[in-house]
């Protein structure tokens, strides 16, 4: 990743990607909320990961993704008419993860997939971290108790719960991989399309 000296074009691109991300967050977020679709956060994060990877391909400078996230979070706060902490933290954390991965590795398909995987895995832990923060560490005992009771009722052993957890992790990692590949390929196609349209 190049050093963070932002020129006019970079600022323009950061603003464009922030507007696109905010539009997606607001439109898709609101529609998913109205339709009461489960795993709303996961669906939104999938698109956020794609947007972050595309943005990195276009700008490729340190701190650009964080700037995009801060503008997106602010636009979302302005549109929602308040400071909603959970979505703001999620947006900033997603960009921070992508920023860190692209800081330590070259921007290519592999790093995009890794970024996608970590962003998606963060969504899985976001809920757990939030619950630990709100309910405290004692909630783990209660969840443990519920898991034991449920496995007793359903006739499952505790190993099945670990299988379920590993399945969740694999599923999120798979979704992250798809987001990484999609982000990388969309960025390449968009660049080609822009070249074609400007030559036209």
């Amino acid at each position: 990743m190049k050093k963070a000296i932002l020129n006019k074009d970079d600022i323009q691109l950061i603003a464009i990607f922030a507007a696109i991300w905010a539009a997606f967050e607001i439109l898709l977020g609101n529609s998913l909320h109205i339709m009461k679709i489960p795993f709303r956060g996961t669906i939104l994060t999938f698109f956020s990961a794609i947007i972050l990877i595309i943005a990195n391909k276009f700008i490729g400078k340190r701190g650009a993704l964080l700037l995009i996230a801060s503008v997106t979070a602010s636009l979302k706060a302005v549109s929602a008419g308040g400071f909603f902490i959970a979505p703001m933290i999620a947006i900033i954390m997603e960009s921070l993860i992508a920023e860190l991965i692209f800081y330590f590795s070259k921007s290519n398909l592999f790093s995009s997939i890794i970024a996608g995987i970590f962003i998606m895995l963060y969504t899985l832990t976001h809920g757990i971290i939030a619950q630990l923060f709100v309910f405290g560490i004692d909630i783990v005992n209660i969840y443990n108790f519920i898991a034991k009771e449920l496995s007793g009722i359903l006739g499952l052993n505790s190993a099945n719960i670990y299988y379920f957890l590993s399945f969740l992790i694999v599923f999120y990692a798979f979704a992250g991989t798809i987001a990484g590949i999609l982000g990388e390929r969309i960025a390449i196609h968009t660049k080609e399309k822009i070249k074609y349209l400007s030559e036209k």
């Binding site: 323009q12 507007a19 539009a23 503008v71 602010s74 999609l182």
Partner: protein, 191 residues
């Protein structure tokens, strides 16, 4: 209520969530009573479906189904220590959620720009203004793609997602760059 008072109240609630249970439970009951009197709408936000389910689990299911049952209400046996443990968890959750809800009320007109500048994002101001101007056209581009030729576009989005999204992005980037350049030229001429 004054915004500074709300901020101080939310801070008190947040801190009291981490105090010993004897103290936090008293503060929790007083704050719930005060909010019922002053602004009951906040309680509606705090006591959402998820919290109600958690209350049922922590205060009913967990004590009743625990193995060591040492107390009873009528014919229902329950574990006293599990009930107290559940009460601790719920008290903490209510206090923290109340504090966050009060903060979001107090920060409704908060100047977000100054917040990001305070933490060192200097270009934020300029980028935010450009993004804010671009947001309506971003809405239009996304909405148009799903309202005009709905069937065809949905088909494209499903079977050729890469071409579909890259087409939206390319056109949006091109248009907004052109519009911004035109706007800058006009403002420079005016100056």
């Amino acid at each position: 209520m004054n915004k500074t008072v709300i901020k101080i109240l939310s801070l008190i609630l947040f801190v009291s969530a981490f105090l010993p249970f004897e103290l936090s439970s008293i503060i929790c009951s007083i704050s719930i009573f005060t909010i019922i009197v002053l602004k009951p709408i906040i309680l509606q936000k705090v006591f959402n479906k998820f919290l109600i389910i958690m209350i049922l689990i922590c205060l009913v299911v967990y004590p009743v189904l625990s193995i060591e049952k040492d107390s009873a209400i009528w014919i229902i046996n329950y574990s006293n220590s599990s009930l107290i443990n559940g009460l601790k968890i719920i008290t903490r959750a209510i206090l923290i959620l109340l504090a966050f809800n009060l903060i979001s009320i107090a920060s409704k007109d908060y100047n977000i720009k100054s917040f990001w500048q305070k933490i060192g994002l200097n270009s934020f101001d300029k980028i935010f203004d450009i993004s804010k101007d671009l947001l309506p056209s971003a809405f239009d581009v996304i909405k148009n793609k799903f309202t005009r030729n709905k069937r065809q576009n949905l088909k494209n989005a499903f079977f050729h997602p890469i071409h579909f999204i890259s087409d939206i992005l390319a056109r949006f980037i091109m248009n907004s760059t052109k519009n911004h350049q035109n706007y800058e030229q006009i403002t420079m001429r005016d100056e």
